[in-house]
Amino acid sequence: MDYDFKIRTANERAKVEDLFDYEGCKVGRGTYGHVYKARRKDGSDTKDYALKQIEGTGLSMSACREIALLRELRHVNVITLIRVFLSHNDRKVWLLFDYAEHDLWHIIKFHRAAKANKKPVMVPKGMVKSLLYQILDGIHYLHSNWVLHRDLKPANILVMGEGPERGRVKIADMGFARLFNAPLKPLADLDPVVVTFWYRAPELLLGARHYTKAIDIWAIGCIFAELLTSEPIFHCRQEDIKTSNPYHHDQLDRIFNVMGFPLEKDWEDIKKMPEHPTLQKDFKRSNYSSCSLIKYMDRHKIKPDSKAFHLLQKLLLMDPNKRITSEVAMQDPYFQEDPLPTNDVFAGCAIPYPKREFLTDDDQDDKSDKNNTRTNQTNNGGQGAQQGGGGQSDQGNNHSHGGPNAAKRVRLSGPPGHPPAGQQNNIQQPQQQDFHHPHQQNMMFQSGNQQQQNPTFQQRFQ
């Protein structure tokens, strides 16, 4: 390599640390790397940015895919990659995005906590509808460009805070996204288990070898249900996420417990699924004879004759061939019924959710820390929350948290030299709510939810 060429390019190369302030402003971490809330040093704008430092050094395949795809994608509901920084000295890769203050993982967590404390959260009536509409819009764009997301879950659905894009959904974490119109290798060969189990379509759990648009749609259905009820609809205890076997008995059991066992006429091709023999061996239809989505949602006060329920049912069809497409879903009567979806999902109302917390430094690299803090953190958001410290904490092996991890979190004001962050939202962030603890599960059936009479606001967010 030519010396003069190296010097010339080094002089031209912008360094992330020269352009941005981000020290002490970490807002997320996981297997994907670290995310910082950043501001421009030169003050040419005062916007917040998200700087993602990709885990490890050099260009991993998923970093490559993320850069390659995000470089091409442009849609209001898909996160925009603004810039890539390559740090030649330490071989780190940094991605610059617009900063999204919220995500559905935090939003739902907030609602759960509020519900448990019987304190209403005031949100606009059409918020869930607006969220769903924008998720569908973004996914429709990806799908029509032959990109599958493959890892849709609440933590990957970001929502913009105050600013010009207030209340706009941004689909993020495309690290696992891939082109699917002409895969050079069967998709299942590359990384066997990627999608979080709770949001995994039944055909994946039964060993489907190819990812499809329908798999993303199932995940959107799960997210929709979770928005309506504040509970992960297919919540399931998970011991071993790293298994290369797609078949997951407990997760299927959970799905059947909610949906009922699929009838042959409803899903004819189920017989062709690789794990169908195992299914027949392990499951008895009669165990689920009293289960149905109608009953499940009705327990959560979602009426079976509502338009929301009808759409949910089409998103959560067991047979992937019958599942609705994003395009058709966007035309659903649900979106034509009052209240209409809004571009600002908060519809101009005050945003009740707290801003992202900064994670302290001893949270991260304290390798001498021999207690389970470290494990906790690796798992926390390990599936790749693009921004924010969230992620499904339950996806790892830890089921007891709210302990060391929460204790180490502090609320700070904005980045150095910026106005304090949390002025308008004094609501205390619920401390690492134990989202998935078994006994918590009962709460959802008991918590009576008093519908707010106010036409604009209501307690729950349907």
Binding site: Y3, F5, S60, C64, R71, V84, N145, V147
Partner: protein, 266 residues
């Protein structure tokens, strides 16, 4: 992104102007003639092709690697990075982007060593001099110079669509496909959108096979001028090949080629 070529970085940033290309190559073309310059690029396209085949990569990946290679030198002199280092780096990067999977560094290096020794000994008397650290370092420079534009549209898919429209023509497809492969040894991938290249290559294949599809071509809504330019580029490559013996000439050309200086110039 298989979706929309017209909104792609390929279309927006990497369909270059002939004049730009000439200007960017000014330094190299002060040392090499046009033809010598092209011969050097033919040689390295062949090297990339051979590396790709040894690594059992699909043609799509090989084509993408070749386009990376050509894009880098469309913006930089040959002296900036030794093409013998950049070629495997392009293969390495393309295989990740095209989802072939990560090629292990040691495998890449050992294949480079074998290929240079067994297939290109007429060009290199010494063994392949680079190690994986060089490739990894080079990869960052490559990505930077590509401006992170990694998704490359190739003429193969439009070609298949055209053939589907014409009807069942296996022989025509096979030949046109090979002409598209050959076109990677010209500048057309830097100058024209892939669907135009596909049409140009198809036209050449028709002429070779004496298939009269004039009426069908006339129906296509394309800039005939551009197609003819592409045809001329590819035909002049075929002309060059008639008289050119790479085995005999390449060593002298590689010696003449501008080379990196590892020390600062005065």
């Amino acid at each position: 992104m298989a979706g929309n070529f017209w909104q792609s970085s390929h279309y927006q940033q990497w369909v270059l102007d002939k004049q730009d290309l000439v200007r960017e190559r000014q330094y190299d073309l002060g040392i090499l003639s046009d033809e010598e310059y092209q011969k050097i690029f033919i040689f390295f396209s062949n090297l990339i092709q051979t590396l790709g085949e040894q690594l059992k990569l699909r043609q799509q990946v090989i084509a993408t690697a070749t386009v990376y290679f050509k894009r880098f030198y469309a913006r930089n002199s040959l002296k900036c990075i030794d093409p013998l280092l950049l070629a495997p780096t392009c293969v390495f990067l393309a295989s990740k982007v095209e989802e072939f999977g990560v090629i292990s560094n040691s495998r890449l290096i050992s294949i480079c060593q074998t290929v240079v020794k067994n297939k290109f000994s007429y060009a290199y008397s010494q063994e392949f001099p680079y190690r994986s650290t060089h490739i990894l370092e080079c990869e960052f420079y490559l990505l930077e110079n590509l401006d992170c534009c990694l998704i490359v549209y190739q003429p193969y898919r439009p070609l298949l669509q055209l053939l589907a429209d014409i009807g069942h023509e296996d022989q025509l497809l096979a030949l046109a496909w090979r002409v598209v492969n050959d076109s990677l040894r010209t500048d057309v991938c830097l100058l024209y959108p892939p669907y135009q290249i596909a049409i140009g290559c198809l036209q050449i294949a028709c002429v070779v096979l004496q298939k009269d599809l004039k009426a069908w071509f006339a129906e296509l809504n394309v800039d005939i001028e551009k197609i003819q330019e592409i045809v001329r580029y590819v035909c002049s490559l075929f002309e060059l090949w008639k008289t050119y013996d790479e085995k005999k000439d390449i060593q002298a050309l590689l010696n003449k080629m501008p080379k990196p200086k590892t020390q600062p110039s005065r």
